[in-house]
């Protein structure tokens, strides 16, 4: 066991996989010699050589296309897109090619690629360094989408993602690279070292995709969250004193539907939290599913607490970010709603 922040845990997962799988390799903008703008690949080129970890041209579409071709050859590429905002030029490659290659070729070819990319706000990145694009991937049949909320999960999930023979979008909540963030920017930052999930085994372990984690058991209301918002949800529960059951989904596709529905059937109430803008976000699918699966158990309207339906504005970081106050209000409304 070592104490790791999320970047170190991701770095460790990559290290483990480069070591275990001779066909694994990493490329992306600035990931080679320099080790990535967030340092996720720090030291890997030095340790394994440029062949295993190298810089790519600024061409997100080219990066994904190259990875698909390498995957079809039999390698196991792990690529970094520097910011999730910049994955859009590769969207066609992900949707029309990576997601469909196995299906359309009836299993002749497939794309065992992992696409790591930092996403989300809370860092004053403005509209081009803050977006949460998960919903444009979760709607796409053939892609898996994973979002960790702790160093421990980040490593285990990333290893599982790399081992997948299907394309996986691995979204990293960059606001919590260095420490958990409860949505209170005015308070001093806590490092991961003060959080139990910074205890990370140094070697290999995998957390299977499709298993959610009940991070706080409770009876009053179910909170569905992922990434940074898990910590915000926990803060809101603590601050309101509401006995919320907080579920960290970890993997959006495949979704652990059983854990979700079991919890909502128990609590009868559900609040969904994400940072992405609301309309058509992943929360909409969660809400629809919960409603379909748990209609007769629901005692209050399902609530969504999300980013607004605007781009992420630089100066209004904390007005946009769905912090604990907003989540707390929704929890209260939800538990107080009459049947």
């Amino acid at each position: 066991m070592a104490t790791m922040n999320m970047i170190q845990a991701i770095n460790s997962a990559l290290d483990v996989m480069l070591d275990r799988d001779p066909k694994a390799l990493i490329f992306g903008e600035d990931v080679g010699y320099f080790g990535g703008v967030f340092r996720a690949t720090d030291g890997l080129a030095a340790k394994y050589g440029a062949k295993r970890c190298f810089d790519a041209p600024i061409s997100e579409g080219g990066i994904i296309a190259t990875a698909i071709g390498m995957g079809a050859y039999g390698l196991r590429p792990v690529v970094e897109i520097q910011f999730a905002d910049y994955i859009l030029p590769a969207y066609d490659q992900l949707v029309s090619e990576a997601a469909r290659l196995r299906y359309r070729s009836a299993g002749d070819f497939w794309a065992p690629i992992t696409v790591r990319t930092p996403y989300g706000g809370g860092i004053f990145g403005g509209q081009t360094h803050s977006s949460s694009p998960e919903a444009i991937f979760t709607h796409v049949t053939g892609l898996k989408t994973v979002i960790p909320s702790t160093p421990h999960d980040a490593k285990g999930l990333l290893i599982a993602a790399i081992e997948e023979d299907d394309p996986v979008i691995f979204l990293e909540p960059k606001r919590i690279y260095q420490g958990p963030f409860d949505g209170h920017p005015e308070r001093p930052a806590t490092p991961w070292s003060q959080h139990p999930a910074s205890d990370v085994p140094e070697g290999y372990y995998a957390i299977p995709l499709g298993t959610a984690n009940v991070v706080r058991a409770g009876r009053a209301v179910t909170v569905l969250a992922y990434g940074t918002m898990v910590h915000v949800a926990l803060a809101a529960a603590a601050e309101t004193g509401i006995d919320a059951e907080v579920i960290d989904l970890r993997s959006l596709v495949p979704l652990d539907i059983d854990t979700v529905t079991a919890s909502v059937r128990k609590t009868g109430r559900c609040v969904i939290v994400h940072e992405a803008s609301r309309f058509g976000g992943y929360g909409a699918e969660l809400s629809a599913l919960v409603q379909e699966e748990c209609f007769y158990h629901l005692q209050a309207p399902i609530e969504r607490v999300t980013g607004w339906d605007t781009p992420y504005p630089h100066a209004f970081e904390w007005d946009y970010f769905p912090g604990p106050a907003r989540v707390g209000k929704a929890l209260k409304r939800c538990v107080e709603a009459e049947t």
Binding site: G61, A65, T66, E97, R104, S105, D108, F109
Partner: protein, 409 residues
Amino acid sequence: MLRNSRLSLHIPEPPARPGDRPDFRHLDLRPAGETRRPEPETPAHEMRDMPYALVRVLDEDGQAQGPWARGLPPETLRKGLEAMLLTRAFDDRIFRIHRQGKTSFFMRSTGEEALAVAPSLVLEPGDMCFPTYRNVGFLMARDYPLLDLVNQIFSNARDPLKGRQMPVLYSARDYGFYSVSGNLGSRVGHAVGWAMASAWSGDDRIALAYIGEGTTAEGAVHEALTFASVYHAPAILAISNNQWAISSFQGVAGGEETTFAARALAYGLPGLRVDGNDFLAVHAAVSWAAERARSNLGATLIEFVTLRIAGHSTSDDPTRYRPDDEARAFPLGDPVERLKGHMIALGIWTPEDHEALVAACEERIRAAVKQGESIGTLGVTKPPVGTMFEDVFKTPDWRQIRQRREVEG
């Protein structure tokens, strides 16, 4: 001082429209044999003239001319001719079958057979072709089972792609033929990645990717070329300049301003402009590029100048936008006729041999189609309905499992 006070927008127009006389003067042709053949190990920057030249071997009399004439063995010529004839017979037959409503769609490669067939004979078994919908000749040259093609086109119970793809969008890994998709240009990057993976692995396999001249405008093509250049990918990128992209003439893709082979110069790659209807020139150019690739000298871009003789697809009506006698007027002729003429000139072929081969090809196609029909045409048979939920992922998740259950009832 040149400056005008008012600008105007240039909108490209083809030299001829329906009713006009076909006009191919823009092609800038050269006699066979005239273009130099640099040694394959020549540095790219010493070959910057090549994209503006034209590699041709066969002259008007069926004689092989100049430095690109490499003296192919008669078996190769025969095999090439047969694959081209098979392709043409297949195209004609399925086109008619489509008219009968037996499938939903079809695309022919009439006039462009050489540029798919000759490279198929150059590439080795471990190599990989990343084709377009117009490259079935590549499979014909490799004896891909005709029945599998037919079953794919009928999406019937024995369709190797399980009824999932429109006709023509084949995939045949064992024959070195990557999954085709409707999307233009989005697999050139896969070819480059695949080739990079071969080099990365210390293997000696190379990749060949095709696109149409219209498709060169896609950003994905530039990205692929950039990666090919930066990492010296052992790949050949072939542009079939068949003069048309559905109804748009090649000028709409930039062909009024320079050659498509000149795209190579942007990346410091060698670029060849090749007579695409000249089986020998195609073979020689691809062999040259393959030798560079296998020698770790990286990628080559090749423009094949050719003509799309047929309509774009069964959904197209080319009489609406182009003169109907372009095929006759096309100065590079017909690849089948030209190879045939060459073989006759060589004395290894006769008109009677040719007729017999045409008949044999047609018969093989007829038989395969008949067999496919007996398995089922579109909608008559198909794979079990539950299979439509397979291969979305390696292992279905609860959604596919539940939905399959719902469909299977």
